[in-house]
C-alpha cells in the first residue's frame, strides 16, 4: 500500500501541449476527476467514482498538465489527520499539489513539507466538482517548491465558471508577475500577533522583520484587537455550513448503506453513523447544535464575521502586504479533539473567514511565515513571493 498516494493514474496522455505541459499535478481525492475514486478521505464516499472533471482539473488538463493521482487526505479536508499533503512534492513525484484549505490545512501542510503554499482569494477559483465542506470559506490551494509553478497553475485555473454561480461576479484580476520595489513597499504586522507570541517565537519573528527593514521595506505595526475572534467565528460558521453540506451523505442515492435498517430513520442513523469519523462527527454535531439549539450565536458569529472583514479591509488598505506567523507553537502535535484541531489554526483561519489570498513561505528556521494582501491581490502577492525567493521581475 502506498503511504502517500490513495490512487495513481497510470494512463499517460499521448502528447501534452500548453503552458503546463511540463507539470505533474497530484490532487486530493475531493477534486473530481472522471472515473477516479473521488472519496474525499471519507467512508461516506467509499466506492464513489466521479462522473465528470472538476473545473480545476479540466483547466489543468487543457493547459497540458499531467494529473498523476490522488494523495491521502484527512476526512473532507478538515484538519490534517491522515493527510499526506506535501509528501508527493518532497518525494519529487509531483511538481504541484492541489490541496483544500478550510482553516489553514494547505498552508500548514506546506509548512510541514517545507514547500510554498498558496491559498487563492475566495471565489477566484471554481469550486465546481469539489466535494467540499464549508462553501463560503473553502479554497482549492496550490503547493509547490517553486512559486513560478504556483503562478502558472493559478493562471490556468482562475476565472469565472458558469457552472459555479457562488463565485462573485467580478473581473478576474491580472495575474501576471509585477516588479517589487522594497523601497516603495509597506509590510504590515498585526500588533496583537506580536504581543501574544511566546518569547522565543517573538525573537525569530523580530529577526525576520529586521531582514525586511534591511532590504528596504517599510514595516508598519497595525492594531487589530479583534484578531483573536477569527477562530471562534470560523468554528461556529464553519461547523454550521459543514453540517448542512454533509447532509447529502444519507446513503439514499450513493454511498454505502448499512443493511438491516427497519425504516428510513434507522437507515439514516446507522449509515451516517458509519460514514463519518469521530472528528468530523464532532464538527457536524456542533454545527447542528448551533442550527437547532443556539441559532442566535450563529447569527452573532455572522455579524462578527462582517465586522472582521471590514476591519481587515481597513488594514490591507494601510499596507501592501501583511506578514502573519503560521504556526501556533502551543498547538498539539497530534490533535485528537475538535478543540485541539482548531488550536492549530489560530493564525491561519482569518483568511478563510475574510476570503483574502495567503502565501506561505518556508523559512530556514523551520517556522515560516504567511503573507497576505487584500482580496484579489493574488498576482502581487505571488510577485512578493518570487522576489523573496530571489526570482521575480527585475
Amino acid at each position: 500500500m502506498d503511504s502517500v498516494f490513495f490512487y495513481r493514474n497510470n494512463i499517460k496522455a499521448a502528447s501534452r501541449s500548453g503552458a503546463l505541459q511540463k507539470i505533474k499535478i497530484a490532487l486530493q481525492p475531493n477534486i473530481s476527476v472522471a472515473g477516479w475514486p473521488t472519496e474525499a478521505g471519507s467512508n461516506a464516499l467509499a466506492g464513489f467514482k466521479a462522473l465528470e472533471n472538476a473545473t480545476v482539473a479540466e483547466h489543468a488538463v487543457k493547459a497540458g498538465a499531467q494529473l498523476i493521482g490522488y494523495t491521502r487526505m484527512s476526512e473532507f479536508g478538515f484538519g490534517l489527520k491522515n493527510s499526506m499533503a506535501g509528501s508527493a512534492l518532497q518525494k519529487k513525484a509531483a511538481d504541484v499539489e492541489l490541496v483544500l484549505d478550510l482553516a489553514g490545512e494547505a498552508r500548514l501542510a506546506a509548512l510541514r513539507a517545507g514547500v510554498c503554499g498558496f491559498k487563492p482569494s475566495y471565489g477566484l477559483v471554481s469550486r465546481f466538482g469539489l466535494a467540499g465542506l464549508i462553501p463560503s470559506m473553502e479554497a482549492i490551494s496550490i503547493l509547490s517548491m517553486n512559486i513560478k509553478n504556483i503562478r502558472g497553475i493559478l493562471q490556468a485555473v482562475a476565472g469565472a465558471d458558469e457552472r459555479d454561480s457562488s463565485m462573485p461576479e467580478e473581473k478576474t484580476p491580472d495575474l501576471k508577475p509585477t516588479k517589487i520595489d522594497p523601497k516603495k513597499t509597506t509590510l504590515g504586522v498585526i500588533k496583537e500577533n506580536l504581543s501574544e507570541m511566546p518569547a522565543n517565537e517573538r525573537e525569530s519573528f523580530d529577526r525576520k522583520l529586521n531582514e525586511f527593514k534591511k532590504a528596504g521595506f517599510s514595516v508598519k505595526e497595525l492594531p487589530f484587537p479583534d484578531f483573536s475572534q477569527f477562530l471562534a467565528v470560523h468554528q461556529i460558521v464553519g461547523s454550521v455550513e459543514a453540517s448542512s453540506c454533509a447532509g447529502r451523505y444519507d446513503s439514499v442515492r450513493y454511498g454505502k448503506r448499512e443493511p438491516q435498517a427497519k425504516n428510513w430513520n434507522e437507515m439514516y442513523l446507522s449509515s451516517r453513523g458509519a460514514a463519518f469519523g469521530k472528528l468530523l462527527k464532532s464538527y457536524l454535531i456542533q454545527g447542528a447544535y448551533f442550527q437547532f439549539e443556539s441559532y442566535a450565536a450563529y447569527e452573532n458569529a455572522c455579524r462578527l464575521r462582517a465586522r472582521l472583514v471590514a476591519q481587515m479591509k481597513n488594514l490591507t488598505a494601510q499596507a501592501d502586504f501583511i506578514i502573519i506567523p503560521a504556526v501556533n507553537q502551543a498547538a498539539s502535535e497530534n490533535p485528537a479533539t475538535l478543540a485541539e484541531t482548531y488550536t492549530q489554526f489560530i493564525y491561519t483561519a482569518f483568511a478563510n473567514v475574510t476570503g483574502q489570498p495567503v502565501l506561505f513561505l518556508p523559512d530556514k528556521s523551520g517556522a515560516g511565515f504567511q503573507f497576505t494582501a487584500a482580496r484579489l491581490g493574488d498576482g502581487q502577492l505571488l510577485s512578493l513571493g518570487e522576489y523573496l525567493q530571489g526570482g521575480g521581475e527585475k
Binding site: N30, S32, T38, A40, L45, F48, A50, L51, E52, A54, R127, F128, G129, L130, A131, G132, P135, S136, E162, R163, D164, S165, S166, P168, E169, V240, E241, S243, S244, A246, G247, R248, D250, V252, R253, Y254, W264, Y268, Q291, F292, Y295, Y298, C302
Partner: protein
C-alpha cells in the same frame, strides 16, 4: 359566547417552467421515474446549484399579478430536516428574505360586499422528490422518484384576514384565475399544481387577540377547503365552550369521514442562509420591465369587452375572468362569429360539453375554428339550433369538419319555401282543431302548429321560415 374564526392560508403553487429551479433538468413530473435527474438535483458531491432566470421571472410575474411588492434583494435559505425525499438534508427556500411582500386579491363576500384579502409575502422554494410506498412480497418498501425534486414552487402566505369558509374558497378561485391569467401555473388542485393548507384559530367575537392556531392539511379541492374549515371552526368552538385548551398542532382533513384528525407533528427545521446560491438583486428597471410583460388583467379585459363587443358588464366580467375562456371567445370572433352568438354558444354549450368530457378548453377537440365554422352555418340559416347542438356533440367525437358532419347526418336545414309551403298546407289540413283555436284568439295554437310542422319535416325545416309562412297563412285564413 359567540366565536369568530381567524383563518390564514398557505398555498403552494408549481410554476409551469420548462426546467427545474436550480438545474436544466426538464420539469415533467409525469415522466418515467428518475429520468429527469442530474448530479445537481440528485446532490452529488461537487454539485453546484444555478438559479434559473426563467423560474425567477415566472415567480416575479406571479407576484406582480397579485399586487405584491417585489423586493430588490431576496435570498435563499436552507430549511434543514432529514427525509428520503430531500436529497441534501435541506430544502432551498426563502425564509428570511422572500421574493415579494404584501399583495391582495378582492372577492365578493356572501352579502354581496367587496372584501380584500391580503397577502403577507410570497417566496420561492424547490419541491421535494415523490415517495411511493409498495409491498415487495411481504416486505414494505419505499421508492423515491426524483423527477419532482428541485421543481420550482412559490409559496403564498396570506394575512389572517379570512373569517369564513366562503372567504377561503373564493380566494382560491380568484387566485387560480389570476395566476392562470398571468401564465405562471395551471393552478389545479386536482393535479397537485396548487396545494392549500389552512391555519385556523377562534376568538370571542369582538376581540382582537390572536389565539393558538391549528394547521389543517390534506385538502385536495376548493370544496374540501371549505368543508374542512367549517368543520374545524365548529370543532374548536365546541372545545372552547367545553373549556378545553386549543393546542398548536397539525390536523389532516379526512374527506370520507368529513373530519379533521390530529397528525404527528412535523419537525420544523431551522433556516440558515445558503452560501452557494447568490443573493438575488432586482433593479427598479428590471421590475418595471417585468410589470410591462404582465398579460392583460381581467378587470382591464372586461372593460375592453364591453367597449369592443357591446357586452353587458356581467357577461364581460364572466368571459374575462379566465384567460382560457377569454382567448377562446376572442378567437371565435376572429373567425367571424358575432360576439353575442360567440358568448352564448361558448358559455351555454361548449364549456359544459367540454367539462362533461373532462377536457380543458384549450385542449378541446372543438377548436375555435371548428366551432366558428359551425356557428357560421347556423348564422346563414343552413342549419337550425337543434341541429347545431347535435353537430357540436359530433365535433367532440370526430375530426371531421362541421360541413362534412352536416352533410353526412343530413342536418341541412330545409329552407326551400316551396317545400315548406306544401308541408304547412298539409299540417293545416290535418289540424283543423288547432286552426279553429287560433281563429278564436288562442295564440298558443301557433306554437303547436309550428311544432307539428317541424315534426312533419323530421326536424329539418327552418323554424323561422315555418313561422313566417304559417303566420301568413293563418292570418289569411282568419280574414277569409
Amino acid at each position: 359566547m359567540e366565536f369568530e374564526a381567524v383563518i390564514g392560508l398557505e398555498i403552494h403553487i408549481e410554476l409551469n417552467c420548462a426546467t427545474k429551479l436550480f438545474c436544466d433538468c426538464p420539469n415533467n413530473p409525469g415522466d418515467e421515474p428518475n429520468v429527469n435527474t442530474c448530479p445537481v438535483c440528485l446532490w452529488f458531491p461537487g454539485a453546484s446549484p444555478r438559479l434559473s432566470r426563467a423560474a425567477l421571472e415566472k415567480a416575479a410575474l406571479l407576484c406582480l399579478g397579485l399586487n405584491a411588492e417585489i423586493q430588490p434583494v431576496s435570498a435563499f435559505d436552507q430549511k434543514v430536516y432529514y427525509y428520503p425525499d430531500l436529497p441534501k438534508g435541506y430544502q432551498l427556500s426563502q425564509a428570511h428574505l422572500p421574493l415579494s411582500k404584501g399583495g391582495w386579491l378582492d372577492i365578493t363576500d356572501e352579502d354581496g360586499s367587496a372584501k380584500r384579502l391580503r397577502i403577507h409575502h410570497i417566496h420561492m422554494e424547490e419541491d421535494v422528490a415523490k415517495l411511493v410506498h409498495e409491498m415487495e412480497g411481504r416486505k414494505p418498501v419505499s421508492l423515491v422518484d426524483f423527477n419532482r425534486a428541485g421543481a420550482p414552487l412559490v409559496e403564498i402566505v396570506t394575512e389572517p384576514d379570512f373569517r369564513t369558509p366562503h372567504h377561503a374558497m373564493e380566494f382560491l378561485k380568484a387566485l387560480r384565475a389570476q395566476v392562470r391569467n398571468v401564465g405562471s401555473s395551471e393552478c389545479s388542485m386536482e393535479n397537485g399544481t396548487m396545494r392549500a393548507d389552512a391555519n385556523i384559530s377562534i376568538r370571542t367575537k369582538g376581540t382582537s387577540q390572536m389565539n393558538t392556531k391549528v394547521e389543517v392539511k390534506n385538502m385536495n379541492s376548493v370544496r374540501h377547503v371549505g368543508d374542512a374549515i367549517a368543520y374545524e371552526i365548529s370543532r374548536q368552538s365546541a372545545a372552547a365552550q367545553a373549556g378545553e385548551k386549543i393546542v398548536l398542532h397539525t390536523r389532516l382533513w379526512d374527506p370520507e369521514k368529513k373530519v379533521t384528525t390530529p397528525m404527528r407533528a412535523k419537525f420544523e427545521g431551522p433556516c440558515v442562509p445558503d452560501p452557494c446560491v447568490p443573493v438575488i438583486k432586482l433593479s427598479k428597471k428590471e421590475i418595471e420591465e417585468l410589470r410591462a410583460r404582465l398579460p392583460e388583467m381581467p378587470a382591464v379585459r372586461a372593460e375592453r369587452f364591453i367597449k369592443q363587443y357591446g357586452l353587458a358588464a356581467e357577461e364581460a366580467s364572466y368571459l374575462s375572468a379566465d384567460a382560457e375562456i377569454a382567448v377562446y371567445f376572442e378567437n371565435l370572433i376572429k373567425e367571424g362569429v358575432a360576439p353575442r352568438a360567440a358568448m352564448h354558444w361558448l358559455t351555454t354549450q361548449l364549456m359544459p360539453a367540454a367539462k362533461d368530457r373532462n377536457q380543458e378548453l384549450s385542449q378541446a377537440k372543438v377548436t375555435p375554428a371548428r366551432l366558428a365554422a359551425l356557428l357560421k352555418m347556423l348564422a346563414r340559416d343552413e342549419i337550425n339550433a337543434n341541429a347545431a347542438r347535435e353537430v357540436l356533440a359530433h365535433l367532440f367525437a370526430s375530426d371531421e369538419s362541421p360541413e362534412a358532419i352536416v352533410s353526412a347526418k343530413g342536418f341541412k336545414q330545409v329552407s326551400d319555401r316551396g317545400e315548406i309551403d306544401s308541408l304547412i298546407d298539409k299540417v293545416l289540413a290535418d289540424q283543423p282543431g288547432a286552426v279553429a283555436d287560433f281563429k278564436n284568439g288562442q295564440g298558443k295554437a301557433l306554437g303547436f302548429l309550428i311544432g307539428q310542422a317541424m315534426q312533419a319535416s323530421g326536424g329539418k325545416a327552418n323554424p323561422k321560415v315555418i313561422r313566417e309562412i304559417l303566420t301568413k297563412k293563418l292570418e289569411a285564413l282568419c280574414k277569409a
